[in-house]
């Protein structure tokens, strides 16, 4: 079995298994902790609406906060959108998703993907520089932040190298690319990348509280 066979076979299977294992572990470990009932009389019976509003609206900042957050958010918007384009727009990726979940959608031309990947890469590098230089981020950051950054940028780098046939034989580059994605899957449930799932919970909760109070979410 060569590296590519390993990456496409057992490694893929195990990385998904660990992903599923970890996500369920972490989610249930959170969701099944105790809950206290809120007996206060709601101002508005808007808990569900509030949750939905918060989940959607927190995607962009209120205008009052924009002046102080635009730079950081622009970076993060670029790399999130870029990641989405690369992850969900590239036909080989769509085929993998289809083979797992049975759903698919039309892909984007290679040029769009490569361009997005390069832009995303640049934005991620800027995010790292910001993290290393901004006093608040410097203070907050820990291993998780840097490692999650690394496993996020790794598939982009290896993917671009594979496309460019740079640094080795294509099948090995492809294998390394797939392995780097698997590393991302394996790390996902255990680090901050899990925010891609948890944001629904955290935003939703605050939305419920604020929705009941009739406060702006």
């Amino acid at each position: 079995m060569n590296l590519l066979d390993f990456a496409r076979g057992p490694a893929l299977e195990w990385s998904f298994a660990i992903f599923l294992f970890g996500v369920l572990w972490r989610l249930l470990g959170i969701l099944l902790l105790r809950r206290v009932h809120d007996y206060s009389e709601p101002r508005a019976h808007r808990a569900a609406l509030g949750a939905l509003q918060a989940i959607v609206r927190r995607t962009w900042p209120r205008k009052e906060f924009r002046a102080r957050t635009t730079y950081g958010l622009a970076i993060s918007y670029v790399f999130h959108v870029g990641l989405a384009i690369v992850v969900f727009g590239f036909v080989p990726h769509i085929l993998l998703i289809r083979s797992l979940l049975g759903v698919s959608w039309p892909g984007l031309p290679g040029a769009v993907i490569y361009f997005s990947a390069v832009v995303t890469l640049a934005a991620l590098v800027m995010a790292l520089i910001r993290r290393l230089t901004h006093p608040v981020l410097k203070l907050l950051s820990n291993f998780d932040d840097y490692f999650s950054w690394a496993v996020t940028i790794a598939p982009l780098v290896t993917g671009l190298l594979a496309v460019a046939h740079y640094g080795g034989r294509y099948e090995n580059l492809l294998a390394v690319h797939i392995l780097s994605v698997e590393l991302l899957f394996i790390w996902f449930p255990f680090g901050k990348l899990m925010h891609a799932v948890l944001f629904v919970l955290a935003r939703g909760q605050t939305g419920v509280v604020y929705g009941r109070r009739g406060a702006s979410t």
Binding site: L33, R35, F65, P135, L140, N142, D144, Q205, A215, S216
Partner: protein, 451 residues
């Protein structure tokens, strides 16, 4: 009124703000527990807080640092120590080690070290002196993490560890013992009512057996802004309400909550709840006090353990309702006004529009601060911070945001609906020799009533 506490921590009734006199020697560690016991007590209390809600919050922070940009302490100092989510560090650490889904591994490999008493002590300043629980950070956080709520939970552990700032502990203890944090004991209160009633020729109903409306007061008002009592009576009398003040349940401030003692919080809330039930009140009227609103409107039923059998309204909501339905009438006030939203009533309370409706009925020209409403800047005195002498310099620093906002609004008059904000403004005014005076929305209405 002359216990140990009074000799050790006498009240400063005469100063521009109401708290205990600046202690010559600070006691920021209560009790004589060993360090280990303190840490253990904090951990126990922390662990009891960790439910599904706080867990989801603590798990989802992505260290993006945006919360700092919303917090007046960071914005005014540029000191990253004041980043909101960092104020939770010991709490988060305890969570990861003790309660999170991966707690076992955190303990086994010591991935998060045990919290030490030094850390807790260091964090006292962050959890108390530099957080007003205003919830601006909650509003900016892209993950929607309610940091202000978590700070409140973290204070529970700090209290159990005996690591509460001197003044906050002293007033909380006094509230539990005397029923009021700032010397407004039933006797003092009754004397004030009698005097006010004489002086202003207004009937103030005390201890009625049965009443539709139970009126509660903040000790800040009783001791510092007693005209609020008169104004409340005028409004209720004008409406012809069957109302009362009860000496067995009137103090609406809740320093049990602010200092972090859940039991005291409950004791204080239950006094009012029981009084309201006793007189079969249909409505509990809360005074112009932000945290009193949060404590009763949103936490009251949870202290009671079931839904409250009466309605709870902040006085601004009550005014808006009765001005809106025409039962109450006011004269036109040809002035420009800017309104300071108390965080606990607007952003965290949802009653943002009520004061604006009231001001609309008064016909004033409302000049909003920028930003205002749900996104307003905190006055810097909430969460018990205004009581802490140690925090004064920092508080003045953040108050400057407010001064700038008010000045820029260009309004002739500055109005708010929280006596604690008002206290903070008065103190800031004196400190900076500022030309703006804070006014009460309630008093403004009472002064302009059409009889």
């Amino acid at each position: 009124m002359s216990s140990d506490i009074d000799t050790l921590h006498p009240l400063d009734i005469e100063g521009t703000r109401l708290t205990v006199k600046k202690p010559a020697l600070r006691y920021d560690r209560q009790g004589d527990m060993s360090d280990d016991r303190r840490v253990e007590a904090a951990m126990r209390a922390f662990v009891r807080e960790f439910g599904a809600t706080s867990a989801a919050y603590l798990e989802s922070c992505i260290h993006c640092g945006m919360c700092a940009e919303a917090c007046h302490y960071y914005v005014q100092t540029n000191d990253p120590r004041y980043t909101p989510v960092r104020k939770l560090e010991p709490f988060k650490q305890a969570y990861k080690r003790e309660s999170g889904p991966f707690a076992f591994f955190y303990r086994m490999f010591n991935l998060k070290p045990r919290v030490t008493v030094d850390e807790l002590q260091q964090w006292q300043e962050l959890i108390y002196d530099s957080c007003t629980m205003c919830g601006r950070c909650t509003l900016i956080c892209p993950m929607g993490i309610d940091i202000a709520h978590l700070v409140g939970q973290a204070r529970h552990g700090m209290f159990q560890a005996g690591l509460v700032p001197h003044e906050l502990w002293a007033v909380a203890e006094r509230a539990e013992r005397e029923g009021s944090p700032l010397g407004a004991t039933p006797k003092v209160f009754k004397d004030r009512i009698d005097w006010l009633s004489d002086e202003h020729g207004v009937e103030i109903s005390v201890d009625r057996e049965v009443a539709d409306v139970l009126v509660s007061m903040s000790s800040v008002e009783i001791m510092k802004y007693p005209l609020a009592i008169v104004a409340t009576a005028r409004v209720l009398n004008a409406l012809g309400e069957k109302w009362t003040i009860r000496l067995d349940g009137y103090e609406a401030t809740n320093f049990g909550m602010l200092s972090g003692n859940a039991q005291w919080q409950k004791d204080l809330s239950m006094k009012i709840i029981n009084a309201a039930i006793k007189c079969k009140a249909k409505l509990l009227l809360l005074p112009e006090c932000g945290h009193a609103y949060g404590a009763m409107r949103w936490d009251g039923a949870n202290m009671y353990g079931k839904p409250l059998p009466f309605e709870v309204l902040h006085v601004s909501e009550y005014l808006a309702r009765n001005l809106g339905n025409g039962r109450l009438k006011v004269k036109n006030l040809p002035k420009s006004v800017t309104f300071h939203d108390p965080c606990q009533i607007a952003r965290r309370g949802g009653a943002t529009q009520a004061p604006r409706q009231v001001l609309g009925k008064l016909g004033v020209e409302l000049r909003e601060m920028s930003p205002s409403g749900d996104v307003n800047w905190c006055c810097g005195g909430g969460g018990g911070v205004v009581t802490i002498h140690r925090a004064d310099d920092l508080r003045y620093k953040v108050f400057q945001i407010k001064m700038k906002q008010v000045d820029e609004s260009g309004a002739e008059m500055l109005v708010m609906s929280c006596s604690n904000c008002r206290l903070t403004f008065d103190d800031g005014q004196a400190h900076f020799k500022w030309d703006k005076t804070a006014h009460s929305l309630l008093e403004l209405v009472a002064d302009n009533l059409v009889q």
